[in-house]
Amino acid sequence: MKFLVNPSKFNEIADYIFKPVLILSIILFAIGLLFSFYLSPDDYQQGSTVRIMYVHVPSAWLALLTYAIMTLYSVLALAFRLPFGFIFNTAVAPIGAVFTLICIISGSLWGKPMWGTWWVWDARLTSVAILFVIYLIIIFMNLSFENRIIREKVVAIFILVGSVNLPIVKFSVDWWNTLHQPATISKLSKPSIDPSMMTPLIIMTFAFIMIGIAIAILRIKTEIISRKSYLS
């Protein structure tokens, strides 16, 4: 598992797994979209709009997961002086921002027919919007510092401070009375979702994870190359 912290080992592994991951993600997207558009049933209340869930939920999970991994890498980078963590943070922040944006846009497209409004100021929606702004601040900080050494450490500190938002996003539906429904799948008891809807959701989640990994590999490799040219 050394390729997760070592840039040169990462380059070797990434060359092997980039194409398989990309092809796998395309295949999974094809199967998942087929399932979610044609092979899954309509909801008895929501009708066909329930199909937005197959994009909305995976992107929301991945927005949170990306931030959690960035937090982990910031701790590793600051505590054990691993520069790969800084590379990872710089490369992955825009991906997380895009996932959050997909989540917000698909959610408001889903909210217009179901709740009757594009946006409500309830706890889940507000905390996800704050997550998006935190991602934007990380990107802006990456763009606006001139000294690279200061930039990466300050951004890592900011990621650590901003990670207080993660549990708020996760538990906001349990702590407050929100219009957004509480968790149906990622809870301790049995998931309260029908298997016919669970299958496309899981396939789409893996498709999102694979495309995320593929883009992240590209961006991390670019970042490593740019740092090498910066040092030499």
């Binding site: 704050i130 601040i137 606006s144 001139e146 200061i150 500190i157």
Partner: protein, 223 residues
């Protein structure tokens, strides 16, 4: 005793600096009142409407105008080298952060606290709510000072994007605004809300010396 002397001389220096630059603090206050005028002109002069919106307006403008002066939190001392001299005189970076936070609270936020009654007269806020506004702002402004210390120490070497520090403070002050305005509007569970606010204060006060001390150290080492 030597440490006490050092701390006293630190605050004497801060007092002298803030006295000589008193017009900056006054400018903040004037900004606060002018934006209250602007708000009233944009809403309209009906008393009922203003008294509903008044507390939200006061809190928003207090937040905005106290983030205006964040640029001066560490920047002047950093650029003329006083931060390094303080560190060489035996203050660790974390203790510099704590002392500076108290000084910012004393010299920037206390004037706002004094000007709240005048603002409440302008915005037609009821007298019984004024006490809650005071209590929530006394706690909330200290949290704002801590957050300002963190964000301005992060942006010391940021030469391009000065607004980023204000955005960082504003995004982290969302829970403070929620609970402070909640204190004023729902008076029956005053105790629980003010304990939540106090808890946030303790968390931020504990994070502050680590985060801003680390960023100060980083900026001074790499300058």
């Amino acid at each position: 005793m030597i440490i006490l002397n050092k701390i006293i001389s630190f605050y004497y220096r801060e007092y002298k600096l803030n006295l000589s630059g008193f017009q900056d603090i006054l400018t903040n206050i004037v900004f606060f009142f002018v934006s209250i005028f602007i708000f009233i002109f944009s809403i309209g002069p009906e008393k009922e409407k203003i008294s509903i919106l008044g507390i939200g307006i006061v809190w928003t403008l207090l937040l905005l105008s106290s983030t205006l002066s964040l640029r001066k939190f560490y920047q002047d001392d950093f650029e003329n080298g006083n931060l390094l001299i303080m560190h060489l005189n035996g203050f660790s970076f974390g203790s510099i952060a704590i002392l500076k936070t108290f000084s910012h609270f004393l010299f920037v936020q206390i004037p706002f606290l004094i000007s709240i009654p005048i603002a409440s007269v302008l915005l037609n806020i009821a007298n019984d709510k004024l006490m809650y506004l005071f209590a929530s702002f006394a706690l909330g402004s200290f949290i704002l000072s801590c957050l300002g210390s963190i964000s301005s120490s992060m942006n010391l070497m940021n030469q391009r994007n000065f607004l980023l520090g204000s955005i960082i403070v504003m995004i982290f002050s969302v829970p403070i605004i929620i609970f402070s305005v909640g204190i004023i509007n729902m008076e029956e569970n005053f105790n629980s809300l003010i304990s939540i606010l106090f808890g946030i204060l303790l968390i931020v006060f504990a994070i502050n010396p680590w985060a801003s001390g680390f960023c100060l150290k980083l900026s001074i080492e790499n300058n």
